[in-house]
């Protein structure tokens, strides 16, 4: 595909094959209508395409946000259809063909939580239909989908495009990034991230005919596997912390443990390199969960480690060198224990009761230390709630999105090139024209 040239709609559709025959064909009409920008006082009517696990997670958070109403759901799998309607709780109209949902003039915004291979298609159709769009990560599946998406977003610049990388809306990650920007860890040179599980990463299939529909993550026709579903979040964190997107990636992986007919890797390891020489080392395995999930952001002055719901800050012991004499003044007193510091200072320390023990008190000192350095924020809500509150506010009041087109594209590219590195066994460089 010529990156400089026009990409016709038809060419695009040839690449964005929908092999799942049960899923509907894209609509071919091009008519770009005006976005349904709701006023501050009105309710944002939204529809959601895909009401599986992730779609319902979005719906549950949306039900708590005032000024937004689910008027339509779309899914092709009966149990998910039922789950979606129940979760929305607003008696939405059910569709099996997402194009009929897009036809509705009363819908302002659409959320897309379908298998990965459908994201780009549905995103383009939603923009064409004049709706604001929230698309789950990874934003797109194939390299050649990037330019049509960029063009469509530019052509519909008044419509909100938000990508569901919800760490961008997570107070813990925001605090960590604030700390990094304020120099708490010094120069970030290395990020280590992993997502380890001890399970086959499959969903239960009540009838074999639904295997590919339910376990679409196992099949390369629809899915980027572990890279797309898990790494995408952590690559986004690394991009955010480093403030750039990668320039190259090497990787390896395979189907080495769960030899159950799946086509996507059951383990993947990649090393991404950034323009300043920073590296992201990422791994995912499905045969050991001990190290579970975390991101370790390492700079020359400290480390921030984030696990689910918990952030720890470790300082590096860095020598201070100065010229000539200093007015020396040292403090003395009973031993100051540093166990909490060795175990990491919690970014969001738990509440310490007044009748506190000495470990709890150390935690309190840690919190005071963070506050003195201006690093502490209060976690308010879960990331999905924050992310969707942001989306609704963007739709209604033109608030900037927490995770927009550029972040989504950078993330999707890294997933695609990471998989390519694993598949080919070669170092993959980002194309010169982008990045």
């Amino acid at each position: 595909m010529d990156e400089q040239g026009e990409v016709t709609r038809r060419e695009f559709l040839k690449t964005a094959t929908t092999a799942t025959a049960v899923l509907v064909l894209p609509r071919l009409s091009e008519g770009a209508s005006q976005p349904g920008v709701a006023s501050s006082n009105s309710t944002v009517n939204y529809g959601i395409i895909g009401t599986g696990t992730e779609g319902c997670t979005l719906l549950r958070a949306l039900t708590r946000i005032s000024g937004a109403q689910c008027v339509a759901t779309c899914d092709i799998y009966p149990p998910n259809q039922k789950k979606g309607i129940e979760t929305a709780g607003s008696n939405p109209q059910l569709y099996e063909d997402y194009r009929r949902l897009l036809d509705r003039k009363d819908i302002d915004a659409v959320l897309i939580a379908t298998p990965l291979h459908l994201h780009a298609l549905m995103l383009l159709d939603t923009l064409s239909a004049g709706k604001h769009v929230f698309v789950e990560k990874s934003m797109f599946f194939k390299e050649e989908e990037e330019i049509p998406i960029r063009k469509a977003a530019a052509a519909h610049s008044k419509q909100v495009v938000q990508v569901g990388l919800q760490r961008r809306s997570d107070a813990l990650y925001q605090c960590a990034i604030d700390m990094i920007r304020a120099g708490a860890v010094g120069k970030v040179m290395f990020v280590r991230a992993q997502w380890h599980r001890n399970s086959d990463w499959r969903r239960p299939v009540p009838d074999p005919k639904y295997e590919r529909l339910i376990n679409w993550r196992m099949y390369r026709e629809y899915s980027g596997g572990l890279m797309a579903e898990l790494a995408s979040h952590q690559i986004d964190v690394a991009n955010w912390a480093i403030g750039a997107e990668p320039i190259s990636v090497v990787g390896t992986g395979g189907i080495d443990y769960w030899k159950d007919g799946r086509e996507t890797c059951d383990n993947a390891q990649t090393i991404f390199e950034y323009p300043g020489g920073q590296k992201l080392v990422w791994s995912s395995i499905l045969c050991n969960a001990h190290y579970d999930f975390n991101e370790q952001i390492m700079g020359d002055r400290g480390t921030i480690e984030i696990t689910l719901g918990k952030g720890l800050f470790y300082t590096e012991h860095v020598a201070k060198v100065s010229q000539g004499a200093t007015k020396e003044s040292w403090w003395a007193g009973a031993t100051v224990t540093e166990l909490a510091k060795q175990q990491g200072l919690p970014i969001f320390p738990e509440t310490v009761p007044p009748d506190e023990g000495f470990f709890a008190r150390e935690n309190r000192y840690a919190r005071e230390w963070l506050m003195r350095h201006g690093y502490r924020t209060i976690p308010e809500n879960d990331a999905w709630y924050e992310e969707l509150t942001n989306f609704i506010a963007s739709v209604r009041d033109s608030k900037p999105v927490a995770c927009g087109l550029d972040q989504g594209i950078a993330d999707a590219r890294a997933v695609i090139y990471g998989n390519r590195a694993i598949d080919t066994g070669r170092k993959v460089f980002w194309p010169k024209t982008i990045g």
């Binding site: 201070k320 000539g324 020396e328 403090w331 003395a332 031993t335 009748d355 023990g357």
Partner: protein, 372 residues
């Protein structure tokens, strides 16, 4: 100048500026010459004549060790301080009662059933500890480990044991149960359940080892601090008579109580204010009276000034004896000063008592100047 202190008796702080200074060395700094690597690789170092200050910290033994050193060669300072931290880690690996693989933990596991042969430096430190126990009538005691566990001060949050528990645990406390055979360097406990805890002396020992390494590498001005509690002042900073050290108020870590100038001398503090727990409005500190099995009361902190940090760390446990109980020790042991902060009523106030040895003649090139 020393007349204001009555030898061996408690004397309330007169509120005056009090100096006990014996200053012999000329001001300024004369870094010692260095042999060894420099001689072998004469051009390897880019040495400027400017004095550099190098400050680094390191977490070990559950606290943070800090070193600041002056010299002309930053690389030499950096390498020396790195060696210091490695030595502190080595001591921690050997003497920690938190690490099951340490030599001390092995002694604790096996010395009740057999005589365990001990590495010389650890043996010497245990020997020294037992000597302190004898000299302080058991005020300092390295066998309080089981007591600390009963009170929840070992990997716990603190708890008050029942009288029955205390009675039972005191059967396993007492330095008299530790038997040493210096000829073959073995240790044996004469009752089961004895556990050694060097938490009251090992940090001071580590500071002394740090100072030895600094001296060996020609560092003439440095300060070593183990979590603020044990400090050794090597030489003096440039153009100063000694290292300025602020002793914190027992009620507020940000308020200075006294200011001390030290040179070639050590000070250590034991206090009730960092490791304690409160239950039902009552505060229990981690410093135990080995005789009663109860936390020491009516004492806020005790700071001891003595020539080396091993001694000052151990002797800061004069805290247990209090001013009255410390008098006998000071009558028979020279060149020690002990500064007690005692509670006054229920308010956040304290009174000072400064005692010193009957025989107090510090060597030249040493400075201990305590200013209020």
């Amino acid at each position: 100048m020393r007349g204001w202190l009555q030898k061996g008796t408690a004397s309330f702080w007169p509120g005056l500026l009090v100096g006990l200074s014996i200053l012999a060395a000329p001001r300024g700094l004369q870094p010692a010459g260095r042999v060894g690597r420099d001689v072998l690789v004469p051009c390897a170092r880019n040495v400027s004549n400017e004095l550099k200050r190098y400050e680094a910290s390191h977490t070990s033994m559950g606290t943070e060790f800090a070193v600041v050193a002056y010299g002309q060669d930053v690389r030499l300072l950096a390498e020396t301080v790195e060696e210091v931290f490695q030595e502190i880690d080595r001591i921690d690996e050997q003497m920690s009662n938190y690490k099951p693989e340490s030599e001390l933990s092995l002694i604790n596991r096996e010395a009740a059933s057999r005589a365990v042969r001990v590495e010389p430096s650890l043996f010497a430190l245990i020997q020294k500890s037992l000597q302190y126990s004898e000299d302080t009538g058991g005020g300092f005691d390295i066998t309080v480990g089981p007591l600390m566990k009963t009170w929840g001060f070992f990997r716990g949050e603190g708890r008050v044991p029942s009288p029955g528990e205390l009675h039972a645990v005191l059967a396993h406390v007492g330095y008299q149960h530790v038997k040493l055979d210096p000829a073959i360097r073995t240790i044996h406990f004469d009752v089961p359940g004895i556990e050694l805890d060097l938490g009251g002396i090992a940090k001071g020992y580590a500071v002394d080892r740090a100072v030895s390494i600094l001296r060996e590498n020609g560092v003439a001005a440095a300060l070593v601090s183990s979590g603020m509690s044990s400090i050794y002042a090597l030489g003096a900073p440039p153009d100063e008579e000694g290292w300025k050290i602020i002793l914190r108020d027992p009620f507020d870590s940000t308020v200075p109580a006294d200011v001390v100038y030290l040179k070639n001398f050590s000070m250590s503090t034991s206090g009730n204010y960092n490791k304690f727990f409160t239950l039902g409005g009552k505060t229990y500190s981690h410093i135990m009276d080995p005789h009663t099995g109860m936390p020491v009361e009516n004492m806020l902190s005790t700071t001891v000034f003595v020539a080396n940090a091993t001694d000052s760390d151990a002797l800061s446990k004069l805290y247990v004896l209090g001013p009255e109980g410390s008098r006998r020790y000071l009558a028979t042991h020279p060149n020690i000063q002990a500064l007690f902060y005692l509670p006054v009523g229920s308010k956040k106030q304290f009174k000072r008592v400064l005692l010193q040895s009957d025989s107090h003649n510090l060597p030249p090139d040493t400075l201990v100047k305590i200013l209020r």
